[in-house]
């Protein structure tokens, strides 16, 4: 046996390589053929409509669901997308390891901004004038501890002014002006005045819900342990994720800004998303099912009832354009 191996090792080696390549090619071809079907599978009926990224078809097509549950795949391919008042922000890969935020107004591309890392969150203000995003900065391919951070950018389409990072704004933590430079901000939501905004500050092991002002470039903390805020269309409530579930997982909460009352959304345990308001009473978010792909759910903002599944193998939910 050993002699046979020594004599024939070249032939056996080459054969083994050919087999591996053939199996790989067959597997990929079969999988890719299968994904074409997924792009037009219907979802649940969404009264006010839903825009989302379709992960099932393998192309990340920005698709929509209408009031009858009919799914329409679009042309745009994005990792994260959000649309409001005719403005769409699309975060996508531009080069190997490089990403960009493309801004579309009325269907045509008006601006692209190179991003310093992997996209995480994308938002457009209700008026369609202020665009914001958060990315993970990982620097290089070797993930060194301490070598990562988040960076949040805000683009004002009225003036064209770009804030590359919220770190440039002044920060007051619980009344004390803050001087540290290496702080992480993520998950912006801009109010209907197109000036004030909420976001998350992470510093050390603590996170804060913060409120900021675009004109004065100043931010203050509001309360602890609230991430990825999303301001309701009527500006009275903020939805956010907060660690509190079993094993320290995130759950969604809605905070009434006037009364300070916090309501937990049932069935949201394990979520990691910036929730989106589909209308004044309904929130949508993506959550990964056990061992599967992310699925988009909607949930009543007053915390009554269990979440309803809207569409599987999909992420980045937002209201229809």
């Amino acid at each position: 046996m050993k002699d046979w191996f020594v004599r024939n090792r070249i032939v056996v080696g080459v054969t083994a390589m050919v087999v591996v390549i053939a199996l790989g090619v067959v597997y990929v071809v079969v999988t890719v053929r299968d994904q074409q079907v997924a792009a037009t599978q219907p979802g649940a009926a969404v009264a006010s409509g839903l825009t989302f990224v379709d992960n099932g078809s393998g192309q990340n097509l920005v698709s929509t669901l209408d009031a009858s549950g009919k799914r329409t795949p679009g042309e745009l391919k994005c990792l994260r997308v959000y649309t409001s008042a005719g403005t769409t922000v699309c975060l996508r890969m531009s080069l190997p390891g490089a990403y960009e935020a493309a801004v579309y107004v009325g269907g045509s591309e008006v601006r692209t901004v190179p991003l310093p890392g992997t996209p995480s969150r994308a938002r457009v203000s209700a008026s369609g004038k202020i665009v914001s995003w958060t990315v993970f900065v990982t620097g290089d391919s070797y993930l060194a501890p301490g070598g990562f951070s988040t960076r949040t950018g805000i683009l004002d389409l009225r003036t064209g002014e770009l804030v590359e990072s919220l770190e440039a704004f002044s920060m007051t933590i619980e009344g004390v002006p803050d001087k540290r430079v290496n702080e992480n901000y993520w998950g912006v939501t801009v109010a209907s005045d197109d000036n004030s905004f909420y976001a998350t500050l992470g510093s050390g092991n603590t996170t804060w819900l913060i409120k900021g002002d675009l004109k004065t470039r100043a931010m203050v903390t509001v309360r602890q342990s609230a991430e990825c805020p999303s301001l309701s269309p009527d500006q009275t409530r903020v939805a956010y994720k907060k660690r509190g579930g079993r094993l320290g997982t995130w759950q969604l909460y809605v905070l009434d800004l006037a009364s300070g009352k916090e309501t937990q959304l049932p069935g949201s345990d394990g979520v990691d998303d910036q929730a989106a308001w589909l209308n004044p009473t309904t929130l949508a978010y993506a959550k990964v099912q056990q061992g599967g792909a992310p699925t988009i759910y909607e949930s009543a903002a007053d915390g009554t009832g269990q979440p309803r599944e809207l569409v599987a193998a999909a992420s980045s939910p937002g209201p229809a354009a």
Partner: protein, 412 residues
């Protein structure tokens, strides 16, 4: 034709240096194994952020931290890999186990899904495989290469290795853009490259025959005694000291982008620039190290790194700064990565080669790991410029310390 060829054969023995130097076939084959394996692992590394954030909807921050910790922890496995290889006289078999482990993890990703514990485990197995295989592979390279060409052989190997590291992310990008964003095909293709690497190793690489010298048994004791050798001990300490003063690439690139004021898109191109310079310069610098002295070139490489840190202070800005800094950063790798192993190989006897190399590697890897944690902690409380100044001072202290420590015993 005839005349020309006879002239050539006549000329070559007389002036020695003009003979085209031929790197041993085993080195090229091991380079091919590394190239294929690096395509595979860098494909996954490039895909992982997207996979974790978009396919699994998980937070990337914990995972990055986890991976860093495993990289540090499994560095110790190099010692195990090195010792076993020497003990059983089968470097190739241990290397197969290491490469095989990493290849298998590519098939585990789809099964694991969105479990941070599971993902951490898979990454740990991948890193463990890397830890296990490094020492026996480098020992194989050193065992099949004549002493005066060690620098060149390691240079060729590192060049091929880095080509793979460059191709991996390109493959991922092409797949994501034109074929599919579904994760399973990407993991499958990555697995295929890794499997091809393992096949090349199993079927084409030959374990060099080592004569078992009676009386020279490989025991833990004998391995530990390697550090009694002055040259070996000082090399390990010096590589560790310099490792402590080496900050992570991620930090270098992030600071460089800020200081130079270029667009963040350059953040993605900087590692490519470093890798390109590394792969172009690794072989020539390895050859230079064979001629000038390997330790000297290794030391000079860290002086170049000091220059990189000085440039991070931003004496000038713009793309020029980026290009020069990234070029020097690549030269640093070319002058140190393979050269240290070439130098280490001259210090240990053949029957303890893998163990000896693993000691030097582990010392350096642990030191770099400690430094990246320290930098991470520093950055929680300090400005970038302060952190850069601290890095510069640390590097100057390490260079002076090492210069005094090493000279003159190990100058070659």
């Amino acid at each position: 034709m005839y005349v020309a060829s006879t002239r050539q054969t006549k000329a070559s023995p007389s002036d020695g240096g003009a003979r085209p130097s031929r790197v041993p076939t085993t080195v090229v084959l091991l380079g091919t194994v590394s190239l294929l394996t690096d395509i595979s692992s860098e494909m996954v590394t490039a895909f992982l952020p997207i996979y974790v954030i978009f396919n699994l909807q998980m937070s990337y921050l914990q995972l990055g931290l986890l991976d860093g910790i495993y990289t540090g922890a499994t560095a110790v496995l190099r010692l195990v890999g090195g010792h076993i290889s020497d003990r059983v006289h089968r470097h190739k078999a241990v290397a197969i186990a290491g490469y095989g482990m990493s290849a298998a993890t590519k098939l585990l990703f789809p099964a694991i899904g969105a479990s941070s514990v599971g993902l951490g485990g898979v990454l740990a197995i991948d890193r463990a495989g890397k830890g296990l295989r490094t020492a026996p592979r480098d020992a194989l390279i050193s065992l099949v290469t004549p002493k005066e060409k060690l620098g060149e052989s390691f240079g060729v190997h590192r060049t091929m290795d880095t080509i793979g590291a460059l191709l991996g992310p390109l493959a991922t990008f092409a797949l994501l853009t034109w074929v599919t964003t579904r994760p399973n095909p990407i993991f499958m293709i990555s697995f295929c490259f890794a499997a091809l690497g393992v096949i090349v190793l199993i079927f084409f690489v030959r374990q060099p025959r080592l004569e078992r010298v009676p009386g020279k048994v490989v025991t833990l004791r004998a391995t530990a005694d390697l550090l009694r050798n002055k040259g070996m001990r000082r090399t390990t300490i010096a590589a560790g000291l310099l490792g402590l003063a080496t900050i992570s690439d991620a930090f270098v690139f992030v600071v460089l982008q800020k200081v130079s004021g270029v667009s963040p898109t350059w953040l993605a191109l900087m590692p490519v620039g470093t890798a390109l310079t590394f792969l172009l310069a690794a072989t020539p610098l390895g050859r230079l190290a064979d001629r000038l002295g390997r330790w000297r070139v290794f030391f000079a490489g860290h002086v170049v790194l000091l220059a990189v840190y000085l440039l991070l202070l931003g004496p000038f800005t713009g793309i020029v700064l980026v290009v020069i800094t990234v070029g020097l950063h690549g030269l640093f790798y070319a002058a140190t990565d393979g050269v240290l192993m070439a130098h280490g190989a001259t210090l240990v006897p053949e029957h303890l080669r893998a163990s000896g190399l693993s000691i030097v590697q582990t010392g350096q890897a642990l030191a770099r790991f400690a430094s990246s944690i320290a930098v991470g902690l520093l950055l929680q409380n300090l400005a970038f410029s302060t952190a850069v100044l601290i890095s510069i001072s640390t590097m100057v202290i390490a260079l002076v310390g090492v210069f005094l420590l090493i000279r003159p015993e190990v100058s070659r």
